[in-house]
């Protein structure tokens, strides 16, 4: 049965064949009429001319007939395709019905395999394929402390980091941050928010895109400037559309001034909504 339909699929013409068949049909028509007119006493030339006249506007007819033929063939192709699909589906369902146990196992294996592949790809996509949302992400490295026993962890004592920072000869810049939930007060609003306290040239290192103004500089860090940069998500969820630049707010009771808002997609270390500049005393530099 399958062979039967496939055989007929060969019958569907390509554009070129359609045109040729159409020409053949018109030619036959004119020839047949000419054949009939000649015995009535017309010269072959006059008969042919008369046959053409009776056919009508040849150009327009060609154009319209060709267009309608194309439409018909397209529909036919679609129908054959739909038939094929339906047949394959029926076959598949019949086989599932014939061996339900085997089918269930096969489907389960497929499901698990697709699930695994998808989650694997999600990880690979995020970790390897999608670049970090900073300029020159390939230049960024994460530093970790390694103990004498060989354990590594992303923690560093302030003193150690100061050593790394001052004696470093390979890296252009370095910074540390620490993320905590803190009490943030803006006007009448008081809320708990994730705040990253950053030390050193944090913004010079990761260079996030800013919505407004600027990130703070290493210099400000050293000068103990009491300033914060808000994340895009933080301002959008709490104060959409409001100009927050220059606003004073408190972080754990300490007065701070907003000097910038990071752009969407700019870094949010552990989803921290604000970056607070740490006092230089803590930074130790």
């Amino acid at each position: 049965m399958a062979g039967y339909k496939r055989f007929f699929r060969l019958g569907i013409g390509r554009a070129q064949d359609l045109r040729r068949e159409l020409e053949q049909e018109i030619e036959t028509h004119v020839a047949l009429r000419t054949d009939d007119l000649v015995p009535q006493g017309m010269s072959p030339d006059a008969a042919c001319e008369e046959a053409l006249r009776r056919f009508g506007d040849l150009k327009a007819a060609r154009r319209e007939l060709y267009a309608s033929t194309r439409r018909r063939e397209d529909r036919l192709k679609l129908r054959v395709l739909a038939d094929d699909l339906a047949r394959d589906l029926r076959l598949a369902l019949r086989q599932v019905g014939r061996a339900p146990g085997f089918s269930a196992i096969a489907i389960a294996i497929y499901a698990v395999a697709i699930g695994l592949t998808t989650s694997m790809f999600t990880v690979v996509d995020h970790v390897l394929l999608r670049p970090l949302p900073f300029p020159e992400p390939e230049q960024l490295v994460a530093l970790e402390s390694v103990t004498e026993s060989g354990d590594a962890f992303y923690l560093v004592s302030m003193a150690n980091w100061v050593d790394w920072h001052t004696r470093n000869t390979t890296l252009e810049n370095s910074a540390v941050y620490r993320s905590d939930r803190m009490t943030v007060g803006i006007g009448d609003e008081v809320l708990r928010a994730e705040v990253a306290t950053v030390v050193g040239g944090f913004f010079e290192t990761i260079r996030p895109q800013m919505d407004t103004e600027r990130p703070f500089s290493e210099q400000e860090s050293e000068q103990e400037a009491r300033v914060v940069v808000l994340s895009h998500a933080f301002t959008q969820s709490l104060f959409p559309g409001e100009p927050l630049l220059g606003t004073r707010l408190s972080v754990d009771g300490e007065e701070r001034t907003v000097i910038g808002v990071a752009a969407r997609g700019a870094p949010r270390s552990h989803e921290c909504p604000t970056f607070e500049l740490t006092p230089a005393a803590l930074a130790g530099c």
Binding site: E21, Q24, E25, I26, T28, H29, A31, L32, R33, D35, D36, R54, F55, G56, D57, L58, A60, A61, E64, L65, S68, T69, R71, R72, R75
Partner: protein
């Protein structure tokens, strides 16, 4: 020739279906058949005939295949599909009722109205 009538819109399809219900034929055969059976009263432009044929082929009312004429010319032979036959029956019925109604109205005698 001078007395031939222009075809009313929509009647060509019906006439073609009727012709094909007698015997499958090619486009020229159809043109001839129509001329012969209307005593030359009904004449359609040949190109209109083909447009109607192709249109009905698209709607699945007729189907076509290549064949050879008596004098050995390759021609496309059209024949009715079951759907085409059904369409012919219902359209013929409609046409009869329509023609009767129009005739009846035209036959109304002035003064009786």
């Amino acid at each position: 020739m001078t007395r031939s009538l222009p075809l009313l819109k929509g009647t060509l399809d019906l006439l073609i279906l009727k012709a094909l219900s007698c015997a499958p034929t090619h486009g020229y055969g159809l043109a001839n058949w129509l001329e012969r059976h209307s005593d030359g009263d009904l004449v359609a432009e040949d190109s209109a005939l083909y447009q109607a044929l192709h249109r009905m082929e698209g709607r699945g009312l007729v189907t076509a295949e290549w064949g050879v004429t008596e004098n050995n010319r390759k021609a496309r032979y059209y024949s009715l599909t079951p759907g085409g036959r059904h369409h012919l029956e219902s359209e013929a019925e409609t046409w009869h009722r329509y023609a009767e109604s129009v005739s009846a109205i035209l036959a109304v005698q002035i003064g009786n109205a």
